[in-house]
C-alpha cells in the first residue's frame, strides 16, 4: 500500500468536512463515494471502510471516505448532526471526488444510515449506482431500536458499577448527543427507491428479503451477506465490524458493472 496514495484533507465550501482520498492504482474510469453510517456504527465500520477503499483503489477505482458535519473528524458537535445536512454533504463530497479523480461516474456505498444517505442523495449527487448495506428504510423503527438500546445501557451492570438514572442517559444514543431535530427527522424517514440501479447487501438477521422490494429498482438486486452483522448488540457495541464477504460482494459488483 502506498501511503502517499491516501490523502487526508478538509474540503467543502467552508472547509469543514474531513475526507480521505484513495488515489487509484490505475487510471480511473469510475469513482466510489463511501457514505459512513452515523453514531457508533461510524466508529465500528471505520476499519472495514478503509479495507474496502484500499481494495477498490487497488482495482483502479478512485475512492473517497468522508465524515458528515458533526461526525468523525469533520467540524461540528455531535448534537449538531442534521439529516438534511448529511444528504447535502454527500452531494458536496461527490463533487469533490469527481474533481479529484477527474471522472464523472460516481457509485455510492453506505452501511446502515450511510446507505440511507446514499439513496436519499442519489439524484442530487448524480450517483450512477447505489450499493446499500443493511440500509435503514423506516426511521421510526430505527429510532425505537436505539431508544431501547439506550434504556438497556442505563441498566448495563457489566458497563457501570450500578445502574444509571434516566437523566444520565437522556438525549443520547449510545455515546452520542442527539438533538430533538435529528430525532424528528429520523422518525419521519421513509425511503423510496432511487432513480439509479440499487444493490442491497442484506446481512440483517431473520427478516424477509421482501422488505427491500420498495427500494430496489428494476435494474437493481438484493444479495445476502453471511454471517449476519451484529449491528444492535449492546455487548459488542465497541467491537469493530469486519466482513470479508462484504468486501468481496462490493468488489465483485463493481467488477461486473465496470
Amino acid at each position: 500500500m502506498r501511503t502517499d496514495a491516501e490523502i487526508p484533507f478538509f474540503f467543502g465550501p467552508a472547509g469543514d468536512l474531513f475526507g480521505m482520498y484513495h488515489a487509484p492504482a490505475l487510471p480511473a474510469r469510475r469513482a466510489l463515494l463511501m457514505c459512513p453510517p452515523l453514531g457508533q456504527d461510524l466508529i465500528r465500520c471505520h476499519r472495514l471502510y478503509r479495507q474496502l477503499a484500499q481494495a477498490l483503489a487497488a482495482q483502479g477505482m478512485a475512492v473517497l471516505r468522508f465524515d458528515y458535519y458533526g461526525t468523525g473528524d469533520s467540524a461540528g458537535g455531535s448534537a449538531e448532526v442534521d439529516w438534511e445536512r448529511c444528504v447535502a454533504d454527500a452531494a458536496v463530497a461527490s463533487h469533490e471526488l469527481r474533481s479529484r479523480a477527474g471522472v464523472d461516474r460516481v457509485v455510492a456505498f453506505g452501511a446502515r444510515l450511510g446507505g440511507s444517505v446514499a439513496l436519499a442523495a442519489a439524484d442530487r449527487a448524480r450517483f450512477t449506482e447505489v450499493i446499500a448495506w443493511d440500509p435503514v428504510l423506516d426511521g421510526g423503527d430505527y429510532v425505537s431500536a436505539l431508544d431501547a438500546l439506550q434504556v438497556a445501557l442505563r441498566d448495563d451492570t457489566e458497563r457501570f458499577t450500578r445502574p444509571r438514572s434516566d437523566a444520565d442517559i437522556a438525549e443520547q444514543w449510545l455515546g452520542f448527543d442527539i438533538g430533538d431535530h435529528l430525532r424528528q427527522q429520523l422518525s419521519a424517514l421513509h425511503l423510496h427507491a432511487a432513480n439509479v440501479p440499487t444493490l442491497v447487501l442484506d446481512s440483517l438477521p431473520s427478516a424477509p428479503v421482501s422488505r427491500w422490494e420498495r427500494i430496489v429498482s428494476p435494474r437493481g438486486a438484493v444479495a445476502s451477506i453471511v454471517p449476519p452483522t451484529p449491528w444492535d448488540d449492546l455487548r459488542r457495541l465497541e467491537s469493530a465490524i469486519l466482513s470479508q464477504p462484504l468486501i468481496q460482494a462490493v468488489s465483485g459488483r463493481l467488477k461486473e458493472t465496470a
Binding site: 500500500m1 501511503t3 502517499d4 491516501e6 490523502i7 487526508p8 484533507f9 478538509f10 474531513f18 480521505m20 457508533q40 466508529i43 471505520h46 476499519r47 478503509r50 461526525t71 468523525g72 473528524d73 467540524a75 458537535g77 455531535s78 445501557l153 457489566e158 458497563r159 457501570f160 458499577t161 450500578r162 444509571r164 444520565d168 442517559i169 438525549e171 443520547q172 449510545l174 455515546g175 452520542f176 448527543d177 455487548r235 459488542r236 465497541e238 467491537s239 469493530a240
Partner: protein, 278 residues
C-alpha cells in the same frame, strides 16, 4: 482555531488532525493517542471533543493514529511495538512543533493509550505532563477486601451462586461482554520507578481511573495502594470516578472528564493568554 489534516512521520505513514489556535506558539502542546483500536476520533468522539475544548482554551493539539491503527500504516521497519510507539510519538511531537512551535508536550491516553503514553513519558524529556486514563493498576489487598468482604457477607449472593451451580453449568446463561480494551500488565516496581522518575524530572501527572475497571480497581485509595508514596507527590493528581464506565459513553460523564483535564492543564500548564508555564 483551525484544524489541519496531516499525513506525517518518518515513513509518511501516520495520519492525524492538528488543532492550532490562532495565537498559539511556543506553548505546551497536547497529543492524544489511540484508545484501544478506535481510530483517532476516540471512543464516542472523546478525542475530538477533548482536543477542540483544549484548542478553545489556547492549547495546540494533535490527535493521531499510531502505526497500524486507524488510518496509519506500518513502516515495515522491523521495530518492536515499544520502539514503534516511541518513534511515532517523536514524529507527532516534531509535527506539533513545526505547526505551533511547541517545545514541550502533554500526552493523553486511555487504557492501551495510557500504556503507550507512559512508555514515552518515562523516557522523552520533551514530555512535561501526562494524563493516564485507566492506565496501569494492580489488585491490592485493599482491593480484595473491598471487593470480597461485602460479597461474603451478602446471603442473597450465596443463594444466587448456589442456584447458578445447580443449573446446567452455565449453558444458556448470559454471555460476558467481549473484552475490547485492555492494559497489558507491567512489573509494578518498574511502573513505580517510572512514576518516580517522571515527577523527579518535573513532570506533572493526572491519573483518572473509572468504575469501568472495577475488576481490578475499586477505590480512590488504590492509587496509593498500587504505587506508594509517589502518589502523594504534589506533581501528581489522582481522581477516581466510580460511576463512569471505561470509555465514558454517557455525555455527562464525558463532560466532567473533559472539564477535569482542562482544569488540570490550566492549573499546571497555563496557556498563552494567562502566562507561560514554568
Amino acid at each position: 482555531m483551525r484544524e489541519e489534516a496531516h499525513r506525517f512521520g518518518r515513513g509518511n505513514h501516520l495520519v492525524g488532525i492538528a488543532g492550532v489556535p490562532a495565537a498559539a506558539t511556543g506553548e505546551t502542546g497536547v497529543i492524544v493517542v489511540n484508545a484501544g483500536l478506535v481510530h483517532r476520533i476516540g471512543p464516542f468522539r472523546l478525542h475530538v471533543e477533548l482536543t477542540r475544548q483544549l484548542n478553545a482554551s489556547g492549547y495546540p493539539t494533535l490527535r493521531f493514529d499510531l502505526s497500524t491503527l486507524g488510518d496509519s500504516a506500518a513502516t515495515g521497519g522491523g521495530q518492536t511495538r515499544t520502539q514503534q510507539v516511541c518513534a511515532d510519538l517523536d514524529d507527532a511531537m516534531n509535527l506539533l512543533k513545526a505547526r505551533a512551535g511547541c517545545e514541550r508536550f502533554v500526552l493523553v491516553g486511555l487504557c492501551s493509550g495510557a500504556q503507550n503514553a507512559h512508555i514515552v513519558a518515562a523516557t522523552d524529556p520533551r514530555v512535561s505532563g501526562a494524563v493516564f486514563l485507566d492506565g496501569y493498576a494492580y489488585r491490592t489487598v485493599g482491593y480484595k477486601l473491598r471487593h470480597y468482604l461485602p460479597r461474603i457477607a451478602d446471603p442473597g449472593r450465596w443463594a444466587r451462586l448456589l442456584r447458578r451451580r445447580g443449573s446446567a453449568n452455565g449453558v444458556g446463561g448470559k454471555p460476558a461482554s467481549e473484552p475490547v480494551f485492555a492494559v497489558a500488565p507491567a512489573p509494578r516496581a518498574e511502573v513505580i520507578a517510572d512514576f518516580t522518575g517522571m515527577v523527579d524530572r518535573g513532570m506533572k501527572l493526572y491519573l483518572v481511573y473509572s468504575g469501568g475497571i472495577s475488576n481490578y480497581f475499586n477505590h480512590a485509595r488504590q492509587f496509593r495502594e498500587c504505587f506508594g508514596k509517589v502518589m502523594s507527590h504534589p506533581a501528581v493528581t489522582t481522581r477516581y470516578s466510580a460511576e463512569s464506565d471505561h470509555t465514558y459513553i454517557l455525555t455527562g460523564d464525558r463532560a466532567r472528564l473533559l472539564d477535569g483535564i482542562g482544569g488540570w492543564l490550566t492549573q499546571n500548564f497555563p496557556p498563552a493568554a494567562t502566562g507561560r508555564h514554568a
